[in-house]
């Protein structure tokens, strides 16, 4: 990539990187696709369940002909056809208590695109415990946000949300273009973090309201009483 400051060294860094992507839906699918396009060395994808018709408004790795089949297989086939030079490892299950430690341990960086808070909190706990960088992406309707979490350097997800939101509804409004936009921002942040180009916006939440095309960079704070990252010593940036 002929980007100032990136060069051969940046490409080598990506090629030597393993990225875990939690879910391959409206957010995780475009995240995996853009990581593949950028030449990430290995993708580890975790997503359970079979493809439903309602997935197809946003899940760009899926194909209509795969309805009723495991989502993760469709994701793997699309990614390998797109870039046969990368390794794609798949897990036909969502992140859970049984697989989180091993999956996070296998990766250099983690991209979180899960719709359930318990999965996101679990990934956050494992990433903090194993000192792995986590790019957390989320969206709702026409809005979305990305937070880059580097244990010891930044607040963690539990600093942002100290408790599980009681009113979160698993069924949420989604426009594929919005989830793809948020996914692409997450990948940009991850690549900035991995290669050192640009600004990884540590300690900031990037929030976008696409209805008004308003972007905010919000300074988020580390909680001194955080149940997850309180014991992690602060490192110099």
């Amino acid at each position: 990539m002929d980007i100032p400051g990136f060069g051969q060294e940046g490409q080598e860094k990506l090629r030597n990187t393993t990225a875990l992507v939690s879910r391959t839906g409206g957010l995780g699918g475009p995240i995996a696709l853009q990581l593949a396009a950028a030449g990430i060395g290995k993708l580890v994808l975790a997503h359970g369940g079979n493809l439903q018709p309602s997935d197809l408004n946003r899940q760009v790795l899926m194909r209509h002909g795969s309805l009723g089949q495991p989502r993760i297989e469709s994701a793997r086939e699309t990614l390998q056809a797109f870039n046969p030079h990368i390794t794609v490892e798949t897990v036909n299950a969502n992140i859970n208590e049984e697989n989180a430690e091993e999956l996070v341990g296998s990766a250099d960086i983690v991209f979180d695109a899960a719709p359930r808070f318990n999965e996101r909190f679990l990934l956050n706990r494992q990433c903090v415990r194993q000192r792995k960088s986590l790019i957390d992406a989320a969206m709702f309707s026409m809005e979305g946000q990305v937070v880059t979490i580097v244990p010891g350097l930044t607040p963690c997800l539990a600093c942002l949300y100290p408790e599980e939101p009681p009113h979160w509804n698993r069924r949420f409004p989604v426009l594929g273009a919005v989830s793809s936009l948020i996914a692409n921002i997450a990948v940009v942040q991850g690549i900035c973090l991995l290669t050192g180009i640009g600004d990884a916006h540590l300690g900031k939440m990037i929030y976008i309201d696409t209805a008004g095309m308003n972007l905010r960079k919000i300074a988020i704070q580390r909680r001194i009483d955080c149940a997850v990252c309180q014991s992690v010593p602060s490192a110099a940036p």
């Binding site: 359930r116 808070f117 100290p162 599980e164 939101p165 949420f172 989830s179 996914a183 919000i218």
Partner: protein, 96 residues
Amino acid sequence: MPKTVNVTITYTAQLARAAGVEQESATAMQGSPLTLLLRDRAVACSAEMKELLFDSDDTLRKSIVVVVDGSQITNPDSFSLERDHDLFLMMPISGG
């Protein structure tokens, strides 16, 4: 004469739906607690808004991200309104 401050409140996601507006302006007494303003706005808005923002003990829910002038406030109970502020209230969102 007591001084007042002007606060612009912007709501995200489900909060904007419950409020019926994405943004509104409010006036508060200088030095008054932030949570007092939020409680007043929630009560004036709707029961749904009150339920989204406050728990059964009338405490602001910890899952609500409160942003004042571009920075998250981790302890909104102790924050007082000393000057004009831009307040951004974020409902937790997830997935896609």
